[in-house]
Assembly symmetry: C2
Homo-oligomer: 285 residues x 2
Amino acid sequence: MKVISSQKHIYFFSTEMNPVEEVYPGEKVVFETIDALGGNYEKIDFSKVNPATGPVYVNGAKPGDTLVIRIERINLPEKGVIVTGKGFGVLSDEIEGFHTKELKIEKWAVFFDNIRVPIHPMVGVIGVAPEEREYPTGTAHKHGGNMDTKEITEKSTVYLPVFQDGALLALGDVHATMGDGEVCVSACEVSAKVVVEVDIAKEEIKWPMVETNDAYYLIVSLPSVEDALKEVTREAVWFIQRRKVIPFKEAYMLTSLCVDIGISQLVNPNKTVKAKIPKYIFSEV
Amino acid sequence: MKVISSQKHIYFFSTEMNPVEEVYPGEKVVFETIDALGGNYEKIDFSKVNPATGPVYVNGAKPGDTLVIRIERINLPEKGVIVTGKGFGVLSDEIEGFHTKELKIEKWAVFFDNIRVPIHPMVGVIGVAPEEREYPTGTAHKHGGNMDTKEITEKSTVYLPVFQDGALLALGDVHATMGDGEVCVSACEVSAKVVVEVDIAKEEIKWPMVETNDAYYLIVSLPSVEDALKEVTREAVWFIQRRKVIPFKEAYMLTSLCVDIGISQLVNPNKTVKAKIPKYIFSEV
């Protein structure tokens, strides 16, 4: 299996990036990642946060395709760190100073002092070369990026729109656990190894999507959480309307009845929301 | 058990309401409710939507107390209705006309044509006399009201701040199932029977709270979803800070690590959000 060293990383998803490796559809790859603070939380360089390992050129991926990334395994280290401070998070104006806290990680739990928080490994940043301009790796949009979505976890599949030849996949910012919202600006930040299988689908999507055993999650990231919630609702209705071949009004009602609109993160430059579409609606009686 | 007939209902939670019944702490009561459309969806009078059965005077409840309502049982009928149309819901400006659809309810599922949606009985409107002014039963705020929160279900406990003598409890707007967001403005609307046990706690709370087996949900309703998300984050941090007796910065970090910020509904005059605080953080190792 090809291994992408954490020394090969980016701070911007740009239309033109130099790939550090190339893979073929169906190939498995290991990404070694550095934590969101740059690997040394005692000496944070804020111009170098959220590094994403890569980018990797996927042979055959063309604009208009969808990149399919199956998260096979996330190997966590034995400790992580959480940080917050003035100017950070939902309550950025209600906290003083800058604070870091080391967290011990065991097999099933992250220890916040003597409080056991169940482990939930997830990939915070995963993205491809965008359609235009460049996005810092700390920002999320249609190309993916810093979506900080809990469902991007082991055994889930991430779908990203391909905008440039080879897609140019990069990922990082792994968390050992996180609450929806990531309200203080960080979670249990770790350097980790992520094993993925990469594939291509000859289908076009507008926004990133995550598939789990029982649901599809549509993921929308925009500057205003209100706009993001409206857009993800629109996308959920359209997803159901198209897949079930029913009128808009029927899809709108069905969305209201069974789709859960939720929050991924409220603290990055673009806020990320999700719509959980249960798979059972596609198996009629 | 006392039964409150659905003929005794209100359209406003006001500081001064005439109680239709009185109960004592520890007493069980049956509320017969009319659906949110007023019981006849073929002839909706929009000045009479979201009726709440009651109000009931709880002996001994004083301003500054907390009313404790255990939802024992929600008995559903055999059919419900979902409605939407121009001017309604998250996509109010993208839909034309007005539409209603009858839904068959069986033991485990609501049928949307031949799509089975799992049953999830819940109480949409539950509230008390507010601190000041009056709120239509379609609006949610500190007194409760139209919170449309899925966790207000069988076997959960609702906590409401008491602002007036006797609290003056009323409830209605039962749903047989609903997705978080309730995006089209309604869910599976039903007339139902709700059995609750009412109690009083001599403790003060600021916003409504719901307790389930494994978590506390803080519930905040404000005109802007962004303001509501900030306020519910602030409340979650404060809840953890006070109960665990830890500094603000520690509580802020712990909230980020394990509290899920979520959406209840996006379609009423005040939007409702929730913070799920897991109970495991209160059992240290």
